[in-house]
Amino acid sequence: MAMDEAGGGGATTKKFLYVNRKAPYGTIYALESLEVVLIGAAFEQDVSLAFIDDGVYQIIKGQKTDGIGAKNFSPTYNALGDYEVTKLYVEAESLAERGLSVDDLMPITFEDEDDDYAEKPSIQVVNRAEMADIMSGQDVILSF
């Protein structure tokens, strides 16, 4: 049953969606789900991340965690582009309900190798109906 940790999973490419609904720091789910995304990148699947409900707080700007004695892991989201994870869907209604806008979020980008390495935003704000469509097109949905 063992398989190499690095390297692709053979010929199969599946669409993986990681659903993030929880704020960071109150629980470990945000951090440990990000760790799955990073390890999973080695398997060269078609990966998307969805940030809905309080999950939008995982990528909010200006996280300062010294006071709570926890490590600020938000800079790791900036590395996702280097791991070819470039589809971060953020739900518009989740932002609005929380008094947030896309300007409150970290400017996470990736370099598009098909476009002369032009820097492009990884975050796409979508509405609920669009998010539902994205979810219904996935092969594997991971929730934490």
């Binding site: 049953m1 063992a2 398989m3 190499d4 940790e5 690095a6 999973g9 053979g10 199969t12 599946k14 993986f16 629980t27 470990i28 789910y29 440990e32 760790e35 799955v36 390890i39 999973g40 080695a42 398997f43 699947q45 594997v140 949905i141 991971l142 929730s143 934490f144």
Partner: protein, 134 residues
């Protein structure tokens, strides 16, 4: 439903505190009873705590670790405890204990410690993946 499918099961919570571990176990049993295959059961977050052999629940309660160990033995299941989550929470096998300079290990029979890649592999290889959590 005649087709035999491969299932991947993810257990995100530890024993007793959340029902997730029990629901996952009963679901896994039902998968096998229906003649499907269990590709892997992957324990993540506090789910790694299902894999300690040191739990001593009251005699009149189910022993969640023994449930998993016995099911694994009966059906040759692959129960994988995530190494990163296990390190955080103090679930070690003999190798890990030596490697980390700890004076004891506590992994239960039937469980093995491995990397997060095993979860991704389960997602790729299984026909259906289901998570149980909080």
């Amino acid at each position: 439903m005649e087709v035999e499918l491969k299932f991947g099961i993810v257990v995100n919570e530890g024993p007793y505190t959340h029902q997730a571990a029990d629901t996952a176990y009963l679901f896994t049993k039902a998968v096998l009873e229906k003649g499907h295959e269990v590709f892997r059961v992957f324990f993540y977050h506090d789910g790694v705590n299902n894999g300690t052999r040191l739990m001593v629940p009251p005699q009149d309660e189910r022993n969640i670790q023994k449930n998993w160990t016995e099911l694994a033995e009966a059906h040759n299941l692959d129960l994988v405890v995530c190494i990163a989550a296990a390190q955080r929470r103090g679930i070690l096998d003999e190798n890990e204990a030596t490697r980390q300079g700890k004076d004891a290990n506590n992994i239960a029979p039937g469980f093995r410690i491995s990397g997060l890649g095993q979860l991704i592999e389960a997602g790729i290889e299984a026909d259906r993946l289901i998570s149980f959590g909080d």
